[in-house]
């Protein structure tokens, strides 16, 4: 059996192991919950994570491009970016895929090293995409904080009667959404 074929045959097991490794980054009680419920509204973190990883495993095996990986990573990274993870912990689950793939790849396959090198490269690409999304999410959080602070500040000035409310002075921005 070729290396690619043996990998495809193990797809479900790889996904299962990767999902387990990913939820194991949470405290044990939480990890149990994330694994145990299949309803996407009862357990949105677990189910969103599972859906993302499913698409990513496919992307890894099909050699899909970075855009596909980014779209699949976005939901799970958006969650991990607001949880109690350091940047490396938030994105680190991607690297655990390397170890899992190695465990499942047939040891006697002649093209093992070549395939592994290619897979490692794709996983590295995936990790870079994950870090980009993580940063974009963090920037979004700070933008939301800044926007709310700015709106509160302008609102205080307005309440104190310190802002002339003419259309020409461009103060419309003081009433941005989210205030």
């Amino acid at each position: 059996m070729s290396t690619e074929k043996s990998l495809l045959a193990k797809k479900q097991e790889i996904l299962k192991n990767w999902f387990e490794a990913t939820v194991a980054t949470y405290p044990p009680d939480t990890a149990r919950f994330l694994k145990s419920h299949k309803d996407p509204f009862t357990n949105p973190v677990g189910e969103t994570t599972y859906r993302s990883l499913t698409v990513l495993v496919d992307a890894l095996m099909n050699g899909a491009d970075r855009d596909v990986m980014t779209a699949a990573l976005d939901p799970v990274m958006r969650i991990r970016a607001v949880q109690a993870f350091s940047p490396s912990m938030a994105t680190g689950f991607v690297f655990s895929l390397k170890q899992i793939v190695r465990q499942h790849l047939a040891a006697d396959s002649g093209s093992r090293n070549k395939t592994l090198a290619e897979l490692d490269q794709r996983i590295d690409e995936m990790a870079l995409a994950a870090f980009d999304i993580y940063m974009a999410c963090r920037e979004k959080i700070y933008e939301l904080k800044a926007t709310e602070s700015r709106n509160q500040f302008f609102s205080s000035l307005k309440r104190a009667g310190l802002i002339a409310d003419s259309e020409a002075d461009g103060e419309a921005s003081a009433d941005g959404p989210g205030l």
């Binding site: 980054t25 405290p27 939480t30 607001v82 655990s96 939301l144 959404p177």
Partner: protein, 540 residues
């Protein structure tokens, strides 16, 4: 030497991403930036005469507590156990079945086990067992007891301000334990040491001094409504004339001040003005606003029972002074829990007011017989049911709507169908979110109970995820582009949550939609909705 180098496979196999599995009592609290709100300004605490006002910082080691702080907490605990039977029962009867554990939006969103409602309650119960039960005194940790220490106090503070008192967990508790009540008591105890957050303390102080959370002075309050009057005239061609402190008006109207100052609540406020103008013109109904009772919200509820009572009383004092028949309340969340569940025993009976009857339809609001306060969604639903409003729902056709049940009106007063009835009569594109995320099982916006500050944005986003996840589902399935709600905190908090999780979806109040559809006598042909966006068919 080269042989000693570790291979990539070996290196990878040594990395363990799993956190340590210590028990909850042995997992120390880490106060993380983005998850907590700033400490209360001591001046705000002083305004209300609350104890131990002092400057402190949650991330400092020294919280500058009074020397006898443990005694203060213990005596405060004892006093409340005696005063509130429910608190005593809730401390004793939990069997730790775990039914509540995974129902909390903060647990689901943050993944922090201490946000499981049962564990949040255990923070207090462990100290209760230690101080007030024989078995806890004798067996200590074996019986789940632990003494109050500074680390325990910090843990209390951190997690009691990661609960929005939304009560979703209580829906699933077989014993009916209301974990929100436990949070309320815990926060009361923290307030004995001056450990409130500023997002609560300063609005409460403002409300006590000027009548509303934002500290809007009477003239500024009127100025803001005047701006809306101008905007309404521009959009409809009709000049509405709100009444202020009108003696012997039929109804006193009270809404959260957030509606007066914060988008998109301001459009809901314009909606109230348009509806009241319509009712005055068509049926002669006199509704008055008050700049004194200019706050429906009651952040006192998040401080202590006494503070809640003081803020609530001014609404009834104003109703009495003006000689109105009854009070109509706007689209607010926790105001309705205060009214429905606490008002009568705090400041009631309001026997100087009449039992609410809609003078236009003759409907008696039996549910408000005692509190004399009717929710505007019930009032408008009644008007629509009796064909008293002239509506053109096609004006909302470009809005594909879903409805977010705000926690307190749904679980705190059982109002589930009236807003939906109104919504479906003023708009034609409506899709429900999945059943386990709405009505009694609704998920909190993630920012209730005074937690809608800016500095705790990570907490708000994590807590808001279960709700946003359901909105995302109806957005992807039905093209929903607007979520409607009947709570000012929702209107303030959901835009940020949507912006992070589902940026294609906007947020609206119910009466913004009502006013878009309501045909005012003598109005010009409208080209835009209340936001100034083109009406369907008017786009160019």
């Amino acid at each position: 030497m080269a042989d000693e180098l570790i291979t990539p496979d070996e290196l990878l196999s040594k990395i363990d991403h799993r956190p340590s599995g210590t028990g909850w009592m042995d997992t120390p609290v880490e106060i993380r930036k983005g998850m907590y709100c700033y400490a209360a300004n001591p001046k705000s605490v002083e305004t209300l005469g609350l104890p131990n006002a002092h400057a402190w910082n949650p991330v400092d080691e020294d919280w500058k507590l009074p020397e006898n702080w443990q005694q203060i907490i213990s005596e405060g605990f004892r006093e409340r156990l005696g005063k509130f039977r429910s608190f005593k029962v809730f401390m004793d009867i939990c069997v730790r079945c775990g039914a509540c554990a995974d129902k909390c939006h903060f647990f689901i969103g943050t993944g922090d086990p201490k946000n499981m409602p049962v564990l949040r309650a255990e923070l207090l119960r462990s100290v209760y067992r230690n101080d007030f039960t024989k078995v806890g005194k004798i067996l200590g940790r074996l019986a789940g007891a632990r003494p109050m220490t500074i680390d325990v106090l910090k843990e209390w503070w951190y997690y009691l301000f990661q609960c929005t008192e939304c009560r979703r967990c209580s829906v699933f508790c077989p014993y009916g334990i209301d974990t929100a009540e436990i949070t309320i008591m815990g926060r009361e105890l923290l307030n004995l040491l001056g450990l409130n957050i500023d997002w609560i303390a300063t609005p409460v102080s403002n409300c006590y001094k000027t009548g509303n959370h934002l500290g809007i002075q009477p003239h500024a309050f009127k100025d803001m409504l005047d701006f809306f009057v101008d905007d309404i005239e521009e959009i409809t061609g009709v000049q509405v004339q709100p009444a202020y402190m009108e003696k012997n008006a039929d109804i006193l109207f009270i809404t959260p001040s957030g509606d007066v100052f914060a988008d998109p609540g301001t459009y809901t406020c314009m909606g109230y003005l348009i509806l009241f103008h319509y009712l005055r013109e068509k049926y002669g109904l006199k509704v008055t606003w008050s700049t004194y009772a200019s706050e429906g919200g009651n952040f006192g509820f998040f401080t202590s029972h006494e503070t809640m009572k003081r803020l609530n009383s001014k609404m009834y004092a104003e109703a009495k002074r003006l000689g109105v028949k009854w009070i109509l309340g706007g689209e607010c969340g926790h105001m309705w829990r205060v009214i429905t569940q606490y008002m009568d025993t705090m400041n009631g009976p309001a026997d100087f007011l009449e039992e609410p009857v809609n003078p236009i339809t003759g409907t008696k609001f039996e549910n408000a017989k005692s509190t004399k306060m009717v929710h505007i969604a019930e009032f408008t639903a009644d008007l629509i049911k009796h064909g008293k409003l002239d509506l053109d729902p096609s004006r909302n056709d470009n809005k594909i709507l879903t409805f977010h049940d705000s926690c307190n009106p749904s679980r705190g007063m059982g109002m589930l169908d009236e807003p939906r009835y109104v919504l479906q009569n003023v708009a034609r594109n409506f899709y429900e979110m999945p059943a386990n995320t709405i009505r009694e099982q609704t998920f909190c916006c993630g920012s209730g109970s005074g937690l809608n500050a800016g500095e705790n944005m990570e907490l708000r986003m994590a807590g808001g995820f279960p709700r946003a996840n359901a909105v995302k589902y109806v957005h992807e399935k039905f093209g929903v582009n607007m979520v409607a709600c009947v709570c000012a905190i929702d209107r303030a908090a959901l835009p940020a949550s949507m912006s992070y999780w589902v940026p294609e979806v906007e947020v609206t109040g119910l009466h913004e939609l009502v006013a878009n559809a309501l045909i005012l006598p003598g109005e010009k042909e409208r080209e835009t909705d209340l936001r100034g966006e083109p009406l369907p068919g008017m786009e160019e």
